[in-house]
Symmetry: C2
Subunit: 228 residues, 2 copies
DNA sequence: CAACAGTCTTAGGCCAACCTAAAACTGCGG
DNA sequence: CCGCAGTTTTAGGTTGGCCTAAGACTGTTG
């Protein structure tokens, strides 16, 4: 119908908005103007303005004062950016010596500049990985994504051993701290104690004990450990 | 003095202008408004406007109706972009399966998006090459550049055997044609005939004979063949 | 159910980069 | 040395993307 945005016509800004809205609500629940503004570090009126334009272009639906939801077209464009971002992160870690705490900013710029061809070559060089260095699933080129739902570390009962499967965080300082505790996707962790309030969890990571607070606990997504 | 552009403050546009001006005149001779406009596919008034701003920022000197020259600061910024561009081209060819005729457009976008850190890692992965896939010299990180001056193919006398050392062309179709003749940096060529006018040159490339016209002849830069 | 806090939108501006149309300059040829 | 072609600049306008200030809405609460 609309001959708009045949893939390459989206501006950087538009790509950022779509990705942000997707990240605020992968399930499609409406995202609020202020959430978007906060995530993109912009003023609320800027968001309102852009949202209006994007909804005119059919990339999202906006109910004034109620929030925005991606249309199918908007969701596809957003997932394309997520795929790019995560593949770039994986590539930089694998081939250019980046650590997972430094890779985000670089990917944030590259995701807008790289061609589809280059993305697919990077994917091929990596062996078409399913997840990025943080354990986040990489959407397929066709737009499908397989979210492996784990449990937050804060929900694991005492005595249980789990495997960290995803570290849902992008701030370098936090990632560096997490890494300093020996925590990263694939690592096995045993919950040895829990506080009744504030979701404080004491864990054992390869013999070392650490106390994890609520925020970090939510960032660390776990799955059942595979073998004893 | 001016706290402007501490490296990362240049916009894409500004980077493009500086690189274009450098390319129009690496030696520093003034470049004209219309040359710049043509190279960047912009209107002349757009160039005048930008040139005025850039000269206010000390990146170039503009004598109205006479042309522009890069200042030392502008030249440094331009060489930085040239380094980025050529290293990116080399990296894409070496590690991501690009051919030299497809690599230019990709590099043109990436050169604005990649961090200095990433550029240096790419350089290291390549073993700090001195030239890119077209044989163009890659400026050093400190801003020095070593242009190996060759002779245009049109200037080689009959009977002489030379080595192609640089193919100074960026249009994919032309590069594809050149490659189809077996011509690329490092290839040895013997001049077997020359026409008195139009600079037509007949060459022998590994047993195949081709006639090269003036334009292509200038694109192909040659050096003395190393050994018989 | 009125008032208020908080959120969202409208109004009005700004800046970078582009454009076209018109005016100004340069340098050459008669 | 005047005029004219070609080049360059000025004038004025557009668009995307951002901003602050001010007004409109919503939902909660006394």
């Amino acid at each position: 119908m609309s001959p708009v945005l045949q893939s390459e016509t989206l501006t950087r800004s538009v790509e950022d908005y779509l990705k942000a809205i997707y990240q605020l609500s992968p399930e499609g629940r409406p995202a609020s103007t202020s959430e978007i503004a906060h995530l993109l570090a912009l003023s609320a009126p800027s968001v309102t303005g852009m949202v209006k334009r994007l909804s005119e272009h059919g990339l999202l639906e906006h109910i004034p004062y109620r929030g925005v939801q991606l249309t199918e077209e908007g969701r596809r464009a957003a997932l394309r950016m997520v795929r790019r971002h995560r593949l770039i992160e994986a590539y930089l870690v694998e081939f250019l010596g980046y650590s997972w705490d430094t890779v985000h900013a670089e990917a944030e710029r590259l995701e807008h500049a790289v061609s589809d061809t280059m993305i697919e070559r990077m994917a091929a060089a990596l062996g078409n990985p399913a997840v990025d260095p943080h354990g986040d699933p990489i959407p397929e080129a066709d737009g499908s994504i397989h979210e492996l739902v784990g449990r937050a570390l804060t929900e694991i009962p005492i005595g249980e051993t789990v495997e960290i499967h995803r570290v849902h965080e992008s701030q370098p300082e936090r990632l560096r701290y997490i890494a300093s505790l020996g925590l990263r996707p694939g690592v096995r962790v045993t919950v040895v104690d829990r506080q009744p309030f504030d979701d404080l969890v004491t864990i054992d990571v390869g013999g070392m004990r650490h106390v994890i607070g609520r925020e970090l606990g939510h960032v660390l997504q776990c799955v059942q450990a595979e073998d004893a």
